[in-house]
């Protein structure tokens, strides 16, 4: 594995994973303080029928077709969840609607999409990070910036745009977002457009999921929405600094997980072996957060500053 191999093979997937993780981190922080982290799981399963319908209607895998189809499917699913959760427990409704949407997607996929086409459920579940190639990026004499930019995968500028828009929106509406996230009822008394903002955050999270979906797949979406914000929440109680800390953690987890997935099996088993990148990144992050939360709890138990009895929360 030489340096020019890195630019040619690994740089494209790595930069896509990093950008997607940064995008997911912004929405993940907001969902974590709202106790709605599992919504991401539901949304990321709901996109399937929309993607299949968009593919059936257009006949080609284009970013914008897939984006609008997936956005329509997941927004309709979230709307149904919000309507039905007035009658039932929200978590049960979430589970019901996402499994129904997923079942519909599988049915449409089996009925109408030819199995020879490069479009199957495994891509959606595991992501297609390894299949991103950035041609024309070479170290050394043949590097040419214009060729590299011309060959850039279409997903990367879209991800950069989403990241910029989300950060600008987050900073401009920081006060309102803070109020709506932490105390929705209080915000409804004081802010005129609070319900618009509340559901706007849901819509924004859905858009992030849909945009990052085609690249990093379901598993890494789940992980990147929960793990960096959770790691950041161990160290800070301020939403803004949590956001920045989460970005640092997201970058660290992505780079470390990518190295483990690609270089460790190549070193021990042979050049052609590698693990699934998304899965490795997510399991590395989960193990890291498990270790950090355990250390934090042990320090908490043995510190004399607090009453060190564990609360029994179940009764």
């Amino acid at each position: 594995m030489t340096f020019s191999d890195f630019w040619q093979v690994d740089f494209g997937p790595l930069i896509s994973a990093l950008l997607s993780a940064l995008c997911c981190n912004v929405g993940g922080n907001l969902l974590l303080v709202r106790n709605q982290s599992m919504t991401v799981d539901a949304v990321s399963h709901m996109v399937l029928p929309g993607m299949v319908v968009a593919f059936m209607m257009s006949g080609e895998i284009n970013f914008f077709n897939i984006f609008w189809g997936a956005l329509g499917a997941s927004l309709s699913g979230i709307w149904l969840v919000e309507v039905l959760s007035r009658r039932h427990d929200r978590s049960a409704v979430l589970g019901m609607v996402f499994s129904a949407w997923f079942a519909l997607g599988i049915l449409l996929l089996e009925l109408f999409v030819d199995s020879k086409v490069h479009f199957d459920v495994n891509h959606i579940l595991f992501g297609s990070l390894e299949s991103i190639y950035w041609l024309g990026l070479r170290a050394g004499d043949t590097f040419d910036l214009s060729i590299a930019l011309a060959n850039m995968p279409a997903d990367i500028p879209i991800l950069i745009g989403i990241l910029c828009i989300s950060m600008i929106l987050f900073m401009v509406f920081y006060k309102e977002i803070l109020l709506v996230s932490f105390n929705y009822n209080y915000a409804r008394c004081h802010v005129k457009y609070s319900s618009f903002l509340y559901y706007g955050i849901s819509v924004f999270v859905t858009m992030t999921v849909v945009a990052a979906f085609k690249i990093i797949g379901l598993i890494m979406i789940l992980g990147m929405f929960i793990i960096p914000p959770l790691l950041a929440s161990f160290f800070s109680n301020n939403l803004f600094s949590r956001n920045l800390l989460g970005m640092v953690f997201a970058l660290f987890i992505c780079i470390a997980g990518y190295s483990i997935a690609v270089y460790v099996p190549a070193y021990y088993l042979g050049e052609e072996f590698s693990l699934n990148v998304g899965g490795t990144i997510v399991s590395f992050g989960a193990i890291l957060s498990l270790i950090i939360v355990s250390i934090k709890q042990i320090l908490f138990l043995y510190s004399n500053r607090y009453d060190n009895t564990l609360k029994i929360s179940n009764i």
Partner: protein, 307 residues
């Protein structure tokens, strides 16, 4: 590419006279629907329905571990009970991790952290299995989406024994479940061990999920646990009738779904079951809405009450 429809096959499959293998599959799915309905009803009352989602995703590394064990220690003979045993092992492990994490962080964060960790581990394990040269790994991907058509007698026996455990636990501890669902503080005051009962309920959910991933797939198992319970909660108010209705709706939608899948080419049985359950749900929702708005629709001579 229109699917070929054979209505007669659907009828034969509904009346168990299609073929021996199809009847076996039908029986397995009916048992699965029954226990999913019971467990779903209990979990819905405990407001823990989303626990199912975490646990079902946690089966994926277990499937990989079971496959590796059968490959390395049993000479490559793919025994289904080893794979399901591996799935049960990781589900119970995930349950333990989650109950530990629940004390340390928000419940929602604990659920999704456990889900992503175990699911990510499963994805990594499957990508490692892909590199092993072996012929028997071909069917492993069916655990994601389920494939009920190839269920044989041994797997049906596995599913029915899981169902038996759930039935026995449900009827033996009927009074305790009722107390736990309605008023757990009262139950604790009476001297019942709430934590133990809660653990038992989640372990029963683990068994239901572990035997169900073969037929329903690890994503759609969430649907067959929540949909019958939500439908039954629209239809009846009485608790024991609610659990019974939920179990019956699960069994009926499983039976009709798998029969439709037998008669129509290219229709996967898991999707058919879930979508038929949704049909039930929306019918019940319309009936409930009309009932709430216009009073009892069946009693014509009573005074209508507007609430």
């Amino acid at each position: 590419m229109q699917p070929s429809v054979n209505l007669l096959d659907i009828w034969y499959s509904l009346t168990f006279s299609y073929s021996y293998n199809a009847s076996i599959v039908c029986l397995a799915l009916i048992f699965q629907g029954l226990i999913s309905g019971i467990i779903g009803g209990l979990l819905l009352h405990r407001r823990k329905a989303l626990l199912t989602d975490t646990l079902s995703h946690a089966t994926l590394p277990g499937v990989g571990i079971g496959f590796l064990i059968s490959l390395f220690f049993m000479d490559g003979a793919r025994e289904e009970w080893v794979i399901l045993g591996g799935a049960l092992f990781t589900v119970v492990l995930a349950l333990g991790v989650m109950r530990l994490l629940e004390r340390w962080m928000r419940q929602d964060a604990a659920l999704s952290l456990t889900l992503s960790g175990f699911y990510g581990g499963g994805v990594v394990l499957l990508s490692y299995i892909q590199t092993i040269p072996s012929g028997t790994k071909a069917g492993l991907e069916y655990f994601l989406l389920g494939q009920s058509a190839t269920i044989n007698l041994a797997e049906t026996t596995l599913i029915s024994s899981g169902a038996l455990v759930v039935f026995v636990a449900y009827f033996a501890l009927y009074k305790e479940w009722k107390l736990l669902c309605f008023d757990q503080k009262y139950a604790a005051a009476l001297g019942y061990n709430i934590n133990l009962l809660d653990l038992l309920l989640t372990i029963l959910a683990c068994i239901t999920i572990a035997v169900g991933i073969r037929s329903m797939g690890l994503i759609l198992i969430m649907g067959i646990i929540t949909i019958p319970a939500l439908t039954a909660s629209l239809l009846v108010k009485n608790w024991s009738a609610f659990i019974l209705t939920s179990a019956l709706i699960g069994a009926i939608s499983a039976h009709i779904g798998v029969s439709i899948s037998a008669g129509l080419d290219d229709v996967p049985s898991g999707s058919a079951i879930i979508l038929f359950g949704m049909l039930f749900y929306f019918t019940a929702l319309i009936w409930r809405t009309l009932h709430d708005r216009y009073g009892n629709l069946w009693a014509r001579h009573e005074t209508r009450q507007d609430n």
